[in-house]
Amino acid sequence: MSFITVENVSFAYRSGRTILDSLNLTIEKGRNLGIVGESGSGKTTLLRLLLGLAQPSAGRILLDGQILDTRNRAFMGGFRKRVQAVFQDPYSSLDPRQSVFNIVAEPLRALKVQTDIESAVSEALAAVGLPADAARRYPHEFSGGQRQRIAIARAIVARPDLVLADEIVSALDLSTRILIVDLLKTLSTSATFAVVSHDIALVALLCPDIIILEKGRIVESGPTERVLKDPAHPYTRRLLASTPRLPPPV
């Protein structure tokens, strides 16, 4: 079932510089999608469009057949309940002056979700593997990996259908990274993730479908397994060949 549909979406600055050029893609419920691209690929802009933080210059984005219009307040309220995000830098994405409880509760309060905020927050914290007493602490008391868990708790607390994850493990150590990947795998049973990353291996671990972006265009898309095994586009092949590999185990 197609949940989000991106139709012929382009984005250009007034100066005329084109960032995204006629993108078409769909995100289906229950199927994580990996969006892979390097700097200059337009993946950050695509993310902003998918989050309703910017409006496409041409084309449209549909949520269950309804057009995503950032000026339509009634629609945006419902949209925000269903689409949440986690960002790259766990240090700048948490307000240092808010307690963890207030940080995680923000979507519930802002979107006026009818629920018991206290229990929803502690459920979300438990779901990301943080102790209940984390709620009254402040972000600086946590490590990078724990902060990213707080950010994930904020993203899932309103029980969204889709979570956009923007390079969420890039700033973390390998041993923390693997724990966050496990967490996202677990959470994938209740929400769909769109994993935006430069890291094909991360996408391969989490997403059955993949899109490769280069210079604002989708150069390849399809099931991740197929794309990895039999990349059709030269850029995909170059990307795979450039990814550092371990020597094969004996």
Binding site: S39, R177, A201, L205, L228, T243, L246
Partner: protein, 269 residues
Amino acid sequence: MTALLTVDRLSIATQARQLVRNLSFSIAPGERLGLIGESGSGKSLTSLALIGLLPETMAATGSIRLDGTEVIGAGERQLVALRGPAAATIFQEPLTALDPLMRVGRQVGEVVRRRLRHEGLPSSAPAVQTRVLELLSRVALPDPERLARVYPHEMSGGQRQRVAIAMALAWRPKLLVADEPTTALDVTTQAEILALIGQLVREDNMALLFISHDIPVVAGTVDRVAVLRQGELVEAGPVSDVLQAPADPYTRSLVAAARTFDTALGRLF
């Protein structure tokens, strides 16, 4: 052959905390060693200590012998003489290593001039200029004559790192220290820079100390690895041994994590 660099029971501490403890390793001339560690492992502090660049709030004890000179306790003049000819360093973010207000040709030229004077060779402007263009083409920068005239912010990240490498190369160092040199770069650019470093190290027969958190990157670049955890050496040995049969539990967990990501990519092709 005697080692080019010998680190013996190196400890680094601030007044409040011990950051590196009893670290020992050595690098022979022309040898490539990888220092693997996560944040807080002390790997970058170690690279700074090698050339006497630790912040003043930190004290190093033990011994670091670089090209026959004891670094710990050495005066600034001795250290200046070591920095460059004995060991040259490239950093993660080339932007911070380059002067934003100086054209890159001049920046590389400054190093070339210093080295020529250091070796008692003539350092006339044309001699320097020729050498700068040679260096820029050695690091595979396209159109060196044009690029020599641009400012760092006008280049891509990969090009800036190439300039930083050219500046290190200008010293003809015996040891090249590369501290996370590709972490800020795109995957395809990273592959190019790694290939370049590998090629230059081979051609000039430089020793390489390659510092990174990224196991596959290190694995493809060096002969031997040392794994650091919270300031302590947990394991060291040839790359294949450490990656195929890690002895230490921490190394095992790191390699297992790296293996998980690697396996997801499928067979090597």
